[in-house]
């Protein structure tokens, strides 16, 4: 019995130490302690100030664009295959209707769609034997929409990263309406950020006139102080050896508007590369330009900065491959992503915007902390008055509960918001409830004439069932809040769940251990302070 008790005390001490370490680490002095506290407990935007945007990606734009391309391609193919028609048009984002198709060409039409338009279903128009409807497959449309959402997310992330916002957060929001939430701590004027998010990134592929220069001055000196009239000097990637500069043609070979896609791939030698596809117009221009410039460098310019400048190995038409010695698979994937996300695939609509000035955040923290401390002290004082010695027991359990709660927040990297602080207060309430349930039951058992030890055991045993029922019910409702709720509701649900789990440990296990410890040190028949 004695060794079992020791083991339990050891478990509690261990939990306590792990939690305290999680919250404050190994501080050497008071200032370090304060710093650790501040850096480890992550505060939500409502507490530290910042901007919270909810936006919707108009994914139907991307579907429309694909259908437009398909329509164009279909027109050309019908012409090439000598299939006549009276009229062809897009009726909505996923439908193309062809009218006046001759009966004898029906099978040709079917073959064409089967071979070259595998993302589409062909059907007869009701009541019109010469009409056909092409419908984009549901899975294809869904794929395009999801791609558009992911691309928009990475584009927006790329752009925000350039704004030197500390710890921005971009995530999907809501259930399935293609919404994104963008959190920008410390930004209290969102106008500029919103403009940047919404703007289209400018991708250009430009022929490099000569070798890169180590500085602007060097480039100028090489040309006698005056740049050629058809050229401009653009900064290159920042490397360990410093900033390089490229002298490139003013007129781009192609721009992001000419790109239809880009994918990471492997070249003939199995090295990582990036494949890209161009639309008809771009392909014609690109083919001409690359044919004339074999052996030269092609600068990939994103927002007026050279991202990469690989060598042109041969004439490139509608499909191209960018490969080079220094490509790692990651770099190839990144480049493909930049190429793809250079321009937003769909337009963006803002649904909501919230800016918390840091001054209000500071006030909120102060209020939240004061309210929590006042509430806590009042409750603890009352427990001491009402339950005497056992009140200490309850207060210790309560403090450990809070320590575990905060430490769990640090360990799982959760963000503490204002509703979260309210959740902490509720946890305190339920923690007290557990102790009251137990103590009242012990008193009751004791009054019925049981010995102290049996009364404590009976009290815990009976109260435990009730505590489990109340806690599980509340955790069930918190789980529902977490699953279906958003933002603030979720923050509340997380704190409540962690707090209640911690409470099961402290009020049942810790409190019981303290009771047993106290009892083990007392003589038989001595009264319990409750």
């Amino acid at each position: 019995m004695e060794s079992k008790l020791k083991g339990r005390v050891l478990v509690i001490l261990l939990v306590f130490l792990v939690c305290v370490f999680g919250i404050v680490g190994f501080p050497r002095n008071l200032i370090q302690l304060k710093d650790n506290l501040r850096s480890r407990i992550r505060l939500g935007l409502d507490l530290k100030g910042g901007t919270h945007l909810i936006l919707q990606v108009q994914v139907e734009d991307a579907v429309n664009a694909v259908t437009d391309q398909a329509l164009e391609r279909l027109r050309d193919e019908l012409k090439a295959k000598n299939i006549p028609y009276a009229d062809i048009q897009k009726t909505d984002s996923t439908h193309i209707v062809i009218k006046g198709l001759p009966q004898e060409k029906s099978s040709d039409m079917q073959a064409l769609v089967a071979e070259q338009f595998s993302d589409w279903d062909l059907a007869r128009l009701p009541g019109d034997p010469t009409g056909r409807a092409l419908t984009m497959k549901v899975s294809s449309a869904a794929n395009i929409r999801n791609q558009a959402l992911l691309q928009s997310m990475s584009t927006i992330r790329n752009r925000i990263d350039q704004l030197s916002v500390v710890e921005p957060e971009i995530a999907e929001y809501g259930q399935s309406d293609f919404e994104l939430v963008v959190q920008l701590p410390g930004v209290d004027d969102p106008t500029r950020v919103k403009d940047i998010i919404q703007s289209t990134a400018l991708l250009e592929l430009k022929i490099v006139q000569d070798n890169p220069y180590p500085s602007q001055e060097a480039a100028l000196a090489a040309h006698g102080g005056v740049l050629p009239p058809d050229a401009e000097l653009l900064p290159g990637p920042r490397t360990s050896s410093g900033q390089s500069w490229y002298l490139v043609n003013k007129i781009p070979a192609i721009t992001g508007r000419d790109l239809t896609g880009a994918e990471p791939s492997k070249d003939i030698n199995g090295r990582p590369s990036v494949n890209f596809t161009l639309n008809r117009d771009g392909a014609a221009r690109f083919s001409r330009v690359t044919g004339q410039n074999i052996g030269r460098l092609l600068a990939i310019v994103l927002d007026r900065r050279v991202v990469d400048a690989p060598e042109i190995h041969g004439q490139i038409s509608d499909r191209g491959e960018i490969s080079g010695g220094a490509f790692t698979p990651e770099k190839a994937a990144d480049l493909a992503l930049v190429l793809r996300s250079g321009a937003l695939p769909a337009s963006i609509k803002y649904l909501s915007e919230e800016t918390v000035g840091p001054s209000l955040g500071a006030d909120s923290i102060r209020h939240g902390v004061i309210a929590s401390i006042v509430g806590l002290l009042a409750v603890m004082a009352f427990m001491l008055v009402y339950y005497h010695g056992s009140g200490i027991n309850a207060d210790l359990a309560l403090i450990l509960n809070l320590i575990i709660l905060i430490a769990t927040f640090v360990y799982i990297d959760a963000v503490l918001t204002l509703p979260g602080i309210a959740g902490v207060i509720l946890t305190v309430g339920m923690g007290v409830d557990s102790n009251v349930l137990i103590f009242e039951r012990i008193r009751e058992e004791w009054r019925s004439g049981k010995a102290v030890g049996a009364a404590v055991a009976g009290g815990f045993e009976h109260a435990f069932k009730t505590i489990i029922d109340t806690h599980v019910t509340t955790i069930v409702s918190a789980a529902i809040l977490f699953t279906f709720g958003t933002g603030p509701i979720r923050g509340f649900a997380v704190t409540l769940t962690i707090g209640l789990l911690a409470n099961l440990f402290t009020s049942v296990f810790v409190s019981r251990t303290i009771f047993d410890y106290v009892l083990s040190r007392r003589g038989k028949g001595e009264a319990l302070s409750i």
Partner: protein
Amino acid sequence: MEFFHEPKIDWMGKKWYFIGLSIPLLLAGLVSMVVKRGLSYGIDFRGGTLVYVKFALQPNLDQLRAHLDRQSLVNATLQGYGAATGHEVIVGLDLKTTTSTEALDTGKRAIIGALSSLYGPGPEGKVDFNNASPQTIADHLLAADPLGISSKGLEEATKTYRDLADALVQYRNRPPRSGLVADFQELRTVPGAAPSVLALLGKDFYLSGFAVRNTEIVGPKVGGDLRRQAVYVTLAGLGAMLIYIWFRFELIYGVAAVIATFHDVLITLGIFSLLNKEITLTVIAALLTLVGYSMNDTIVVFDRIRENVRLNKRENFPDLVNRSINQTLSRTILTSGLTFLAVLSLYLFGGEVIHGFSLVLVVGVIIGTYSSIAIASPVLVFWRERQGGGRVGERPRVLERQAVGVPR
């Protein structure tokens, strides 16, 4: 110390009084909701713009309203908040029917524009320090270089001035200033704010009499989504708890608990309607907390009823319920008293942002406790009486343990 010593109150004998109290409460709220045509929702459900403003001096709301009217912000609402000495006002603007992207922050711009024309149109070419972002301040500092550090290189100077601007803004935002500096000399105490810096600030900036502390803009879609979501989440939560109680007790216990909880939510909503308080997102979070709390309280009583049913199958059911309530009464009063203490502290000291939240909890703790005794338990008794007999032993159960600790 002890408040109650084995109370013997006949609760179920008073059930008609309880119902006589609950029904008028429910009706008053419902009538208020009908008369006011539904509940009044906050901006986060309705869609629109809220700008939280702090003024240096007590603003004259009539004058402000007249000024907003002149700026064609006719349907703007003004509402003071926080402590009276804080001079804080929320300017609200309902969403217009337009839903284009531009419309989203036109309201905010219009409000801030109107405020700045009334409370501090500064000298030509100067920038309002109280509403300037750190970036703006840093840009001005860097351009004028009052510390004469440009020789140390651009990067170093940029960082120094950026840090200084951050420090100045932090100082400005900290209470008791809370966003409003009245005199540039106040900034003396900020580390790095040399007299030359203050001189430059005085030259480039002016101090207006207001500071925008917070803005909220909610589009119509988000608002509608949230409202739907709130209803679904509440119903789903109640459903899940009903199933859990059914699984742990019996179906009728779950039904009774849900009826009691529903009663609590309806009365709380009614009180919100009577007090003309807005339903916001945090209020919804609080209502869900209330649901959890009310359930918690009911389950404690039900748990005791279940235990007593197993121990004593011959007892008259209303008497058994009375005895169970009395046995848990001490705990009920203590817990709700202490929880009330905690949420009261939240209500009194928690600040404006969670005022609605804490109001729900203050009301909810009282009603949630009351309904366990006055609604949930009578529902059980009514059901048993309808089932006939009023005796407990509906289902024979094996006596699991000795009757311990039950007085009587």
